[in-house]
Homo-oligomer: 165 residues x 2
């Protein structure tokens, strides 16, 4: 086993896991249940901006989807709960297909487009993106078939908006 590192010469751009996310039907109820089981405080529920305000695209087309989020800090990793609020998104697709279940594993990267290109070359296409805050962005990658789970990349300071290849 090798140690994790955020600076990889090869690969998707990081080997330090940042988030594990679960799609849920009712985030208030789920956040309460997780808080009880973990022995932690119930986190704030955040409503993200609608897709039209964050240049969101889903499978190549603009989407106005929206979601509620909650985060628990489990050491280095955040446990993220996601309640889709309608619209076309990988969140809604996963909830409809699999019910409440783990949706993605997330990693922070820099220069996201080169990670997008790398993953496309490994059969892992980008399926959703959006801006995040003033300068950041996120993107999801359909890795369910080769890897058993969706991947997410997160970038604090975007150079360019990530585009599918």
């Amino acid at each position: 086993m090798s140690e994790g590192s955020t600076d990889q010469g090869a690969g998707l751009g990081s080997t330090t896991l940042a988030q594990v996310a679960i799609v849920v039907k009712d985030i208030d109820a789920s956040a309460k249940r997780w808080a009880d089981v973990l022995g932690m405080a119930v986190p704030n529920i955040i409503t993200v901006a609608p897709g039209s305000e964050v240049e969101m695209t889903y499978r190549g087309a603009p989407s106005d989807a929206q979601a509620k989020l909650a985060f628990f800090s489990l050491g280095q990793v955040q446990l993220e709960l996601i309640e889709p609020m309608g619209g076309q998104s990988t969140w809604q697709e996963a909830l409809d297909k699999n019910g409440e279940s783990v949706h993605h594993l997330a990693f922070w990267v820099e220069g996201m487009q080169k990670s997008v290109d790398f993953l496309a070359g490994h059969g892992v296409p980008m399926i959703q993106r959006g801006d995040m805050g003033a300068n950041g962005q996120y993107a999801y990658f359909d890795a369910e078939n080769p890897l058993g789970v969706v991947l997410e990349l997160l970038e604090r300071e975007r150079e360019t908006r990530a585009e599918p290849r």
Copy 2:
């Protein structure tokens, strides 16, 4: 958000995530794909002892199930791949039901039985256990309904063999 801690006065016994595990059909192929995508070396594939040698129980009955495992270190958290090798287990059940997908989130605890009792009181029953190495043990908990994922607890030095409540 509060910081993670391994010493919790309440809760399952830890808030530091230790492992994210994915059940797979062919661990050699999956480990190679993950290694390529992460830019890491292909890890060793470990075959665990059969259930009859580790006091394994599954849903209350002895089981002789067995699995192959592989681990990637992603910082604090290990990504674990699990290929069930037949026999009655939560690994096989999950692969049959959901295909290749995230199976569990794992935490290290001490004095596992009190965590078992706590989780049972929160509607999260223990469904599988086994000894691990000379002195350790693991146990799985059916949290799919309330939490969207199976939980695992790991203990390095067992006081007693964990029993369902």
